[in-house]
């Protein structure tokens, strides 16, 4: 079993692309019969979903269907909501993350998150990326910290735009740049899984295209779960798609299969634009 507490010195050089089908079939994330309720209101019922490594899994569905709730269960961000109760079992890399022995701090270092609205800290661009490295004490020297910040910014495709103004505030960047900064900040701590909650919903098509390219690039190294409102985006970037409706996981499978031959009529109605 993989320890959540030890963050091994990660190799932070670009690895040769590994195609998904050559990888271990063992899913990185598997949720079994997960039910989430806010007080008396059940937001998700009995969801079982598996996300394989180095693939993009997109969660689609109409507003209020529970897809964001599910995403936030995966790094226990729902802990912040007092009335939220999670039942069932969620395994990340084989370990039950709702086990009382699990430390959410190290869980979240392994399962990073990018939010709907870009939320850089009102600090310098450098400090934004360095923050995670600093709190997890992942670097030993100043030069190593600088190298890793640079590497993360490069991997997020932002380095060329900000290399000469690392001391400017992160909030001075444009919306798309801010979101890429948030991605750089997340990947700097080398998580296994990146959760993305509609990362492009506030961006224009050009910035969206850049992020989508980036997501495709990142999946070589990370496992990505993305919530999206855009079915086109799901079709473009994900290998697997899960359709949620009214707190239920209606259907999930290969993206191509979901979009061409959905098994459930609700999925079909949604992707053809009749509901949602």
């Amino acid at each position: 079993m993989l320890s959540m507490n030890a963050i091994q010195d990660p190799v932070y050089r670009d690895e040769p692309a590994v195609e998904a089908d050559q990888r271990d079939v063992q899913p990185v994330i598997s949720a079994n019969n997960v039910t989430v309720s806010y007080g008396d209101k059940v937001a998700l019922s009995n969801v079982s979903l598996h996300a394989p490594a180095n693939q993009v899994t997109s969660l689609i569905g109409p507003s209020g269907c529970g897809k964001t709730t599910f995403l936030r269960c995966l790094n226990r961000m729902n802990d912040l909501i007092d009335i939220c109760r999670v039942e069932g079992e969620i395994l990340v890399a084989g370990q039950d993350i709702y086990d009382p022995a699990v430390d959410v701090v190290s869980l979240r270092a392994h399962v990073g998150m990018v939010f709907q609205k870009a939320n850089p800290f009102p600090k310098s661009i450098f400090d934004n990326v360095a923050y995670g490295l600093r709190i997890h004490e992942m670097t030993t020297s100043k030069t190593e910290l600088q190298d890793r910040v640079e590497f993360s910014l490069k991997r997020a495709g932002l380095w060329d735009e900000v290399s000469d103004r690392l001391n400017d505030s992160g909030t001075s960047l444009s919306g798309g740049q801010q979101q890429r900064l948030c991605i750089a900040r997340t990947i700097a701590v080398e998580p296994q899984v990146i959760l993305m909650d509609e990362p492009c919903s506030a961006l224009d098509p050009v910035a969206t295209a850049r992020i989508e390219e980036l997501i495709d690039e990142l999946r070589k190294k990370f496992t990505i779960i993305i919530v999206t409102h855009s079915m086109h985006q799901a079709a473009r970037i994900s290998q697997r798609t899960a359709f949620f409706h009214m707190g239920e996981l209606v259907e999930h499978g290969e993206t191509e299969q979901i979009f061409t031959t959905p098994k459930d009529t609700r999925t079909e109605s949604y992707i053809t634009g009749r509901i949602g």
Partner: protein
Amino acid sequence: MTKSFTEITPALKRRHAAEARFQWIGRVAIVIAIGFLITMVVSIAVIGAGALRQSHIALDVFLDPAEINAEEIKNADFGGVIKAALRTKFSDVTKRRDKRKLYGLVSSEAAYTLRDMVLRNPSLIGTTPKIWFIASDDIDIFFKSHNASGGGEETHRISSKEVAWINEFKKAGDIETRFNSRFFLSGDSREPELAGILSALAGSAFSLAVCFALSFPVGIMAAIYLEEFAPKNRWSDLIEVNINNLAAVPSIVFGLLGLAVLLNTFGLPRSSPLVGGIVLALMTLPTIIIASRAALRAVPPSIREAALGLGASQIQATFHHVAPLALPGMLTGAIVGMARALGETAPLLMIGMVAFIVDVPKSIVAPATALPVQIFLWADSPERAFLEKTCAAIIVLLTFLVVMNLAAVLLRRKFERRF
């Protein structure tokens, strides 16, 4: 339905009229509010400005070697020497009652002024130097109003004889008003012409320092814990309701608490800024907690989520990101609370800071009074001259309040971040 955009229907006319009416009511309300404010400030300023000038009278004083022994200067009767000088100047005054009036031209401080002068320079003994003395309060008021209006105010406080003497001084150029530095540099006095606000200012400063040192750290820590860490349950609701209620408790109740607990149970020194500061801190604490919680709540949750999502612990997210962003708001709340504490009188009356304090307090346990209490004391005094002192003290207090509130606004401007 209107046929064209230029057609004014009765309904449209009514709507426009209602809007215009409302705007006018608003403007009138603002004019009334500003009018009251200006009336108050101007009337206080006009009266209080008088306290900045103090009349001085010059006398040719013969420092009689027979009266002043060079060896024992301290024991000499300088009051007698000044009286003699006045008798020499107005030799026609013979009646006992008139003489007493004559001696009252100069302040009782005159003898000490003269003594200090001779102590510094004993070679003056035997000469007749011209020395400026502080005029007594009634003379001072008469002369200042006389100078201003030309006619001079004839009141029952001052007789025609005294007016004649003043005119004689005036003719010789031996009476004039000078900047009243004494008002800012000395403590309280029974004599209005000698009274100053320094002891009250120092008392207020010490009290506020104690108040800030106690209430700021306790207040923001309580706010951070309640807002960021405390579980939300019946207990935290109860605490929240009680803090809000405490903020509305009349301040004199805190004074009673200070009297009963701090003075009587713990035996802390009465009239001291230490006790005053603790009582004010108790009073300010709810204000700071409420303002700080509001400031913390105003930090966008996305910042908190960003930090937690990166694997920051609750305390790291709070102290690295949330608290620094909320700090300007917390400071503003604290300064506003301090400003309220500065103007507070009632609780200080209960713990004995209403005493007559001449000496400027040197520590937080020395007996002291505070600015608003000093204003209260002076306003209560029968001497007419205390009126202008009262107004001047109010101006000083208002100046400090404005400066503190301005500091709060500037701090907020400077550190406020946009998201």
